[in-house]
């Protein structure tokens, strides 16, 4: 077996990830991808069996990267007091607000999927979302020790949603009329504010 084509594959995946994140699956043409990657047009079919196969590759990478960012800290989070663990979780979820990096692109790809889920994505989700959801569920369980399963799941989604609304809409929120500041200290303050509200919400009350 001979494999001198790894470079070409990597260039294609890298270019495709950027374009899929920016324009979505339908909005990205393979001609745009090969132009950015500076490879021949037929290379995508040769290496990935078409546009679908390439998209699957990109989606897998995005999913791994996004969940691993949290899951890598799952163990140490579990050792912290629940309030600190929650703060750390929220802080990490808000991280794409600051970084115009790979993570932002991955979030963007997922945003496309929430409006028009592809078959590839659906399968990926049912196969691989369990660890991440489990981490969020474990976290809220420490605040709601007697809640039933449904309540815990909803609380986990609630927690994730509080963060994702800012991440997802960061471009709109940063411009008029909201003009939300997104520098490091502002995001820090945002994370702390959200943490406070979340703890208050999950705290038992009479």
């Amino acid at each position: 077996m001979t494999r001198p084509s790894e470079l070409t594959r990597e260039r294609i995946v890298k270019a495709a990830e950027r374009l899929f994140a920016e324009r979505g699956y339908d909005g990205t043409s393979i001609r745009a991808i090969v132009a950015k990657a500076r490879v021949n047009q037929a290379a995508i079919n040769y290496h990935f069996n078409g546009k679908d196969g390439l998209y699957r590759e990109v989606l897998l990478g995005a999913f791994r990267s996004l969940t691993e960012h949290q899951l890598a800290r799952a163990a140490e989070t579990h050792e912290m007091p629940r309030e600190l663990a929650l703060a750390a979780f929220i802080h990490r979820q808000l991280r794409p607000l600051l970084a115009r990096d790979e993570a932002s692109r991955h979030i963007r790809i997922f945003n496309w999927e929430t409006v028009r889920p592809t078959a590839v994505f659906r399968r990926l989700l049912t196969e691989q979302s369990a660890p991440f959801m489990g981490m969020a569920t474990d976290l809220v369980r420490r605040f709601l020790p007697e809640a039933d399963h449904r309540t815990l799941v909803v609380a986990a989604i609630w927690l994730i949603g509080q963060c994702s609304v800012f991440v997802r809409n960061r471009e709109q929120l940063a411009s008029a009329p909201v003009l939300l500041a997104l520098d490091e200290s502002s995001v820090e303050w945002l994370a702390e504010t959200l943490t406070g509200w979340t703890i208050g919400g999950l705290r038992p009350r009479g």
Copy 2:
């Protein structure tokens, strides 16, 4: 001036709204629209000056309908105790979970826009989102009477985000592995649960 074409316009807008909601702007072809509306292909250019013009029409209608859905109740909400007002707001925001109706389609069209905002939408947002955001801000202000402007805006977004994460991802959440039930009583319970957590979060604590 002669105007026997209102029927054609309405059929086109109605068909386009459904298709744009389901597939987004790029994913909807004018051939699909005219097939669904059962009008001639050139009718879209004749009546709306092209696909862009038609989309603008649909977007305007969606925006009006959605904001009016909440804003129509703004006055009466203001007369209610703050806890009940918040519950009513959340309940209305979660409504698309139940109804496969016009409002649900309009929310879906907006979901497309958060991924790839069109110029039309950006303008619409800066022009007309103020009343809606103002309503949400007024609502949270009743819980945070001494908060500064930034905190109030973030709280309003936080409130909206808590609801939208369920609406936006309803299809994924309803299927495995989450299997969130979306019948009437379940949504009722969800609204009450979210209301409780939100009140708890915004309530002052020592």
